[in-house]
Symmetry: C2
Subunit: 202 residues, 2 copies
């Protein structure tokens, strides 16, 4: 289906860019663009401003790899956080899901994906070296591997465990309770909390 | 589910605004925000710019009610368009759908909705007066009511037909071919073209 609207190249471009968002196809992108234009003052103007602010302020934390408006991020620079425990996640969305569960008051490390030879994603494409550096720097007693219960996630967990083998650090994984094949970001907060409490040695 | 991300109020606000788009809930809004932040240069920056341009340039055509970057709009100001035929639609999305079908090289009129007493939407809330004005100004030989095949759409069509009864204008409706209860914007271009070709007197 064409994205043609006859409404001028500026609206075409807005629709084409909206269609690149996850969850929006060409048709829903047209609907979203129309909705934005109709709700110009209530939605389009504030969203345009929020995006301008994000462009200007949001970046990647050089310590843990999450996104935030400060570097180090809010979590890494919070002295009330237990810096001796690092929760390792694949993606920022998983970090957010675990934070909503509010199960542990710890630090995080975002790998930025999983090992996937078929997709050409090797160890150097993930933020694994940064994790090893943090452990090597000392003060970390436990690394919790909170990766997805997928083949790629578990492969990645094994690889990270091997890289941390020489350090005096306990490496644990989430308890069973995470459905096999499931993704963390889909789970309710109670399940995440239980899986964290019953975590076992890797 | 909370929208809390720990990533600062700026990202929270971006997610909350994205969640107001049709088709995006809180969870998909978080995914969309993360996607935008990760693809900052390729997507967030261009989308923020496209929205700024839309805020500045996009408005409503004072003749037909569609959205465009010029007033009168591209269609209303195009001398190659047949000004004697006005295709009346509920929504701009329907106008776009009919234009993609490219079945008629005519002008349009966007009502901006349908009569819906239960929702408090009466004739004065729709762009019906503007249509009567255009017909009254002369030069219009046919008004095609391309409204949705819903109860509200058909009620609105009857009302518009009554309002145009005193004028020397042929009022037609889309041919059967539009599925009962269906919405124009969901139909393929072939169905729309056939429905237009076989239009009947209202
Ligand atoms: Zn951080
Ligand atoms: Zn117009």
């Amino acid at each position: 289906m064409s994205t043609k609207t006859t409404a001028g190249p500026e609206i075409e471009r807005l629709i084409q860019l909206l269609a690149k968002l996850p969850g929006l196809g060409p048709r829903s992108a047209r609907r979203a663009a129309l909705h934005l234009i109709k709700k110009k003052e209530q939605l389009l103007v504030p969203l345009a401003e929020a995006m301008d602010v994000a462009v200007e302020k949001v970046g990647i934390c050089s310590t843990c790899g999450t996104v935030d408006t400060s570097d180090p991020c809010t979590i890494c620079s919070d002295p009330r956080r237990d810096a001796s425990t690092i929760l390792v996640v694949e993606d920022v969305a998983d970090l957010w899901a675990l934070e909503r569960a509010a199960a542990l008051n710890c630090r995080y490390h975002v790998l930025g994906g999983t090992l996937s030879p078929l997709d050409g994603i090797g160890p150097d494409d993930l933020n694994i070296g940064g994790l090893v550096d943090r452990v090597q720097a000392g003060g970390v007693s436990e690394v919790i591997l909170a990766v997805n219960a997928t083949v790629e996630g578990q492969t990645t967990a094994h690889f990270v465990t091997d890289r941390l083998a020489g350090f005096d650090v306990r490496v644990t994984k989430l308890a069973h309770g995470v459905p096999v094949g499931g993704e963390l970001d889909y789970l309710d907060e109670g399940t995440l909390t239980q899986a964290l409490k019953a975590r076992t040695a890797f």
